[in-house]
């Protein structure tokens, strides 16, 4: 499903992968990202996400931490250990709000760390500016 209501068009659209085990949150993020004209895919855990990334590497991932099978930290580490994916932007979106977790996420190679519940405007802003740089 492609949202390009505002006629926002690019030769190459930025690809975004949403990774979260809560279907409602995936749904909300999908709506937001499509509205901004990004190409969106989703995965509900780390393993699913990894195979999706291997299929086609996205420009940016929105990553939840608490997930079954492979959690966000582990996935983050896996992505950063592959040089081919070193430019991939990682935004952690999590309900884990403690400083220690934020630090751990950043140390493992995440670019941004946003705690839930988040402001949709701020997240969109953050993603846009991250993709422009």
């Amino acid at each position: 499903m492609i949202f390009s209501k505002r006629g926002y068009s690019r030769v190459e659209r930025n690809k975004i992968l949403i990774i979260d085990d809560e279907p409602q949150i995936v749904r909300a993020l999908e709506l937001l990202m499509q509205r901004e004209g990004f190409e969106v895919r989703s995965a509900s855990d780390g393993i699913e996400a990894l195979s999706s990334i291997e299929d086609a590497a996205p420009d940016l991932i929105l990553l939840d931490l608490m997930m079954p099978r492979m959690d966000g930290f582990e996935l983050c580490q896996k992505i950063r250990s592959n040089p081919a994916w070193k430019n991939m932007i990682i935004v952690i979106l999590t309900a884990k709000g403690r400083d220690i977790e934020r630090e751990k996420g950043m140390a493992l190679g995440a670019d941004h760390y946003v705690t839930k519940p988040f402001s949709t405007r701020e997240v969109v802003q953050l993603i846009k500016s991250a993709l422009e740089h």
């Binding site: 909300a28 993020l29 309900a95 839930k116 519940p117 988040f118």
Partner: protein
């Protein structure tokens, strides 16, 4: 056969050698270069146990009763095995308190009782005199045999000759002089008689060699092959019994009793106590001696049976006394020098015994009988007593030997060597109960010991000594056969008409039973004096004494130094006194001349020095005469004991306190750990709860913002988003409720309403409540419930909550066509509720953990909304509050069955 002169010269020559050895030993000891300080000499000196009784008597006994001579050596061998444990303790006590004799030991143990000391001395003298007479008999008769052989009929019977032509008298006198020269050179009885011990060890060697020489001669020369004797003996019926044991009650009891009294004899005979304890140089020597001594006993008994058999064969039909086979065998076969050597061996056995025994007895007589009397004589109050004491000892030696001679002359001829010895053993056995009980049981009391000893001694006299007087013709023989006053129950060999024992066994059984019984009963029922308690503790706990108790300043009173040194001079002589005082000054680095008032330490020192000379009981009396106030004793002792016991009590309390503190600290540590754990759990809980709350909040916020931003959204889409919002809000509400429930259950603030409820009804109602969910998911819910009501005591609402939760879970987590069945079983005191579904099942490793809070199993396939992770955890707590159990049975792919077991009745929670 041998001329009198040869025998006499040899005898005196041998005694001269002994004296030379003793002299050398003393010289070396004075030079600080002891020759007896090694375990071999120590073990040999213990072999003073083997007297002429062993040397001649064993063969005599073997000739009559076969191996019946063995118990006398079996006992010592057995007890030697525990010497390291037993003897070492006795030695430690004796060295610590300067014990001079067995009488001193017992007196000291039972509150430094002069009465006990005196009593033990009297028993010892009465008991030992037959034993000494036995030695005199052996020496004089072997002298005569050697001299007159083969005209044995000319060996004079003592009744036929005047005292003045009796060899035994001269033997007694010579031995007395010899003992006096040996043993009474020093006043301090605890000072070791090193020369004497050296001579005794030498004698033990000589008697062993002499006996082995006869043995070798008989077995290898006379009979060529050892087997010959036995085969010859076996041919003669009356002799074959010698190599076999009799087996009757009498012989068993006799074996046992002989073994027992020889155990006691080897420890408590005055001479054994002397060599084992008083003359011991080093506790370590006990280790080696405890196998060397039994080895010696084995060696000296090796040839007893062969010699006895050889004698029987040789003198078959003649009237030669079996007690002198050892001597007559070599004589018969013309071996003069071997016979002379045997005679010297016998002389060794006799002199060794007599010297040590009389020295030990003389110490006891002077310290425990004479000194207590002397101290009461006013005229002697300021005399110098040291030479008087020495002379007392010399006189006692002479007296004891003369008494021995008189016994020999008027009674002893009637008995064989062994029987005389056993009478002595039976007397000495009386020391065993107070000694052994006193050594290990603090409760053994002075009164108990005194009465036990007295009665035991009286029974011994009545059952062994009086009959011997009757046999010797001094009292009517009817005493034995008809009993005292003709009462059969008072027959001395058959008290209370017991007929199964031989006289020795009979006497020992009765006297030891009475002795021990009285001691135990009176100790248990009576009170101990303070002095007794102190001594009991010092003795029994000798290995665990703190230095504080060791040097316990028992004298709290005051005394002048000059008075105390005066005592020392009186009892020890000027020279010894000066030596002792110098030693004290050196050790404590003080000069006594500058001190007037003696401190407790000095009083203690003087008392110990005096104890060494005159025994503990008398020393105590002496000291009390110069320490201010006659009755220093009890009050002071009380106080000292109180102080001591207060200190002990105090340290006990301290120990207890520190133990309590330690326990409290541990408790605190544990509590702290628990608190930390709780704190961590609380943090985790809050963190988890906030995480759980954030998830629905995130959806709600995101969708609300999307709806806000996009007013023009088409209806279909808007409905979808609004539905999500409603569901998420419901979820949030449920979550908050459950958290509240859970915290209430956790903290115990939930108010329970227990009542009697019909579980069938409760289940039906629960099913109705979850009916909506069942409809919306088209789940089939079936029930299997009893027709009758099932009454249990429970909180109705909570149980409903559990059932609804289980049913809801079952529906939610089941597959495409959810099938749920609820069953109820009445199991007597319990009910069993089962909720079964046809879902994917729960992996084995998850089955326990699903009941933990916030534990969720994810179902990737359905993607259904998660629970809060609290539902089952709440169920578990509710069920457990009802004292029931909840668990799950499942194998993956075959559904899961949740089982709740509840008791019907509730005890008040």
């Amino acid at each position: 056969m041998l001329s009198e002169w040869v025998i006499l010269v040899t005898s005196f020559g041998y005694l001269g050698i002994l004296f030379g050895i003793a002299y050398l030993g003393d010289k070396r000891a004075d030079a600080g270069n002891s020759i007896i300080s090694n375990p071999y000499i120590y073990a040999l000196s213990i072999a003073v146990y083997c007297t002429t009784w062993t040397f001649y008597g064993s063969v005599g006994r073997a000739a009559v009763s076969g191996v019946g001579f063995l118990p006398i050596y079996l006992g010592p061998t057995l007890i030697a095995a525990v010497w390291w444990f037993l003897l070492r303790k006795i030695i430690r006590i004796s060295k610590t308190f300067r014990i001079t004799s067995i009488a001193d030991f017992l007196a000291s143990r039972f509150g430094k009782s002069a009465f006990i000391g005196g009593l033990v001395t009297v028993i010892a003298i009465a008991g030992i005199i037959p034993y000494i007479s036995l030695q005199l008999k052996a020496v004089s008769s072997t002298f005569n045999v050697l001299h007159l052989y083969p005209a044995l009929e000319r060996v004079p019977k003592s009744v036929e000759i005047t005292i003045w032509s009796d060899t035994a008298l001269y033997v007694a006198i010579i031995m007395a002089l010899f003992s006096i020269l040996f043993g009474t050179r020093h006043i301090d009885a605890t000072e070791r008689h090193e020369g004497m011990v050296a001579a005794i060890a030498f004698e033990s060697l000589v008697k062993l060699l002499a006996f082995l020489a006869v043995g070798f001669y008989v077995v290898f020369v006379l009979f060529e092959k050892p087997g010959d004797i036995f085969s010859l003996a076996a041919d003669s019926a009356p002799m074959s019994m010698l190599t076999h044991m009799k087996t009757s009650l009498e012989s068993y009891s006799s074996w046992f009793v002989l073994t027992l009294i020889s155990v006691f004899a080897v420890m408590f005979l005055p001479r054994q106590f002397q060599v084992l304890v008083v003359e011991n140089v080093n506790e370590e020597h006990v280790k080696k001696a405890s196998w060397l001594f039994p080895l010696y006993l084995f060696a000296i008994n090796l040839f007893v049976v062969p010699i006895a058999l050889a004698g029987k064969i040789t003198f078959f039909g003649s009237s030669v006394d079996a007690d002198i086979f050892v001597l007559t065998l070599p004589l018969t076969y013309g071996e003069k020098f071997l016979a002379l050597f045997v005679y010297i061996g016998g002389l060794s056995a006799a002199t060794g015994m007599v010297i040590v025994e009389t020295i030990a007895l003389s110490t006891m007589v002077s310290n425990d009988l004479v000194v207590p009397v002397l101290l009461r004589i006013k005229a002697l109050q300021h005399e110098n007593l040291s030479s008087l004491l020495l002379n007392t000892r010399r006189l006692s030696i002479l007296l004891v030997l003369l008494l021995g001679y008189l016994y020999f002359r008027f009674i002893g001829e009637a008995y064989a060597l062994v029987s005389i010895g056993l009478i002595s053993f039976a007397a000495v056995a009386q020391f065993a109960p107070p000694f052994l009980l006193g050594l290990f049981w603090k409760g053994a009391s002075r009164r108990g010991a005194a009465w036990g000893l007295s009665i035991g001694f009286a029974i011994w006299m009545y059952t062994l000594i009086f009959p011997s007087l009757a046999i010797a013709g001094w009292i009517p023989i009817s005493f034995i056969d008809e009993g005292l006053f003709g009462i059969p129950a008072l027959r001395p060999y058959h008290l209370f008409n017991i007929e199964v024992f031989d006289p020795i066994t009979h006497s020992v059984v009765w006297s030891l039973l009475a002795n021990t019984g009285i001691l135990v009963i009176m100790s248990l029922t009576g009170q101990q004096s303070v002095q007794e308690k102190i001594q009991a503790k010092l003795f029994v706990d000798v290995f665990k004494q703190s230095p504080m108790l060791r040097g316990s300043p028992v004298w709290g009173g005051t005394a002048r130094v000059s008075d105390l040194t005066g005592l020392l001079v009186r009892l020890l002589g000027q020279e010894n006194c000066n030596r002792a005082l110098e030693r004290y000054e050196r050790r404590h680095g003080i000069s006594l001349s500058s001190i007037k008032e003696a401190d407790a330490g000095f009083v203690e020192f003087v008392e110990r020095e005096l104890s060494g000379a005159i025994g503990a009981a008398s020393a105590r009396v002496m000291i009390s005469t110069v320490v201010e106030g006659e009755d220093v004793s009890i009050d002071t002792l009380m106080r000292v004991l109180d102080e001591t016991s207060q200190v002990i009590e105090y340290s006990h309390r301290l120990e207890e306190k520190s133990r309590e503190l330690e326990t409290a600290t541990q408790e605190l540590k544990r509590t702290n750990e628990r608190l930390k754990e709780l704190d961590r759990l609380k943090d985790e809980f809050i963190s988890t709860v906030s995480h759980e709350l954030r998830t629905p909040l995130t959806s709600i916020r995101a969708f609300s913002e999307i709806l806000c931003d996009d007013i023009d959204m088409d209806r279909e889409k808007r409905r979808e988003l609004l539905n999500i919002l409603v569901t998420e809000t419901e979820r949030l509400t449920r979550l908050v409720n459950e958290i509240l429930d859970f915290t209430k259950l956790e903290s115990g603030t939930y108010s329970w309403a227990f009542e009697e409820v019909d579980l069938v009804k409760v289940i039906r109602e629960s099913l109705r409540s979850s009916g909506q969910l069942a409809q919306s998911t088209s789940a089939q819910v079936s029930e299997q419930l009893p027709r009758k009501a099932v009454m249990i005591v429970a909180d109705r609402d909570r149980i409903m909550q559990v059932i609804i939760n289980l049913v809801t879970n079952a529906i939610k987590y089941s597959g495409e066509n959810p099938k749920v069945e609820i069953r109820l079983h009445d199991e007597g005191p319990h009910v069993r509720i089962e909720v079964a579904d046809n879902g994917p099942g729960i992996p084995h490793e998850e089955q326990e953990r699903i009941f933990e809070k916030f534990h969720q199993i994810t179902d990737r396939r359905t993607g259904k909304p998660h629970g809060t992770g609290l539902g089952l955890s709440i169920c578990k707590r509710i069920v457990e509050y009802h004292r029931g159990r909840i668990f799950v049975q499942s194998s993956p792919g075959h559904g899961a069955t949740f089982i709740v077991i509840l008791p019907k009745k509730q005890v008040a929670p």
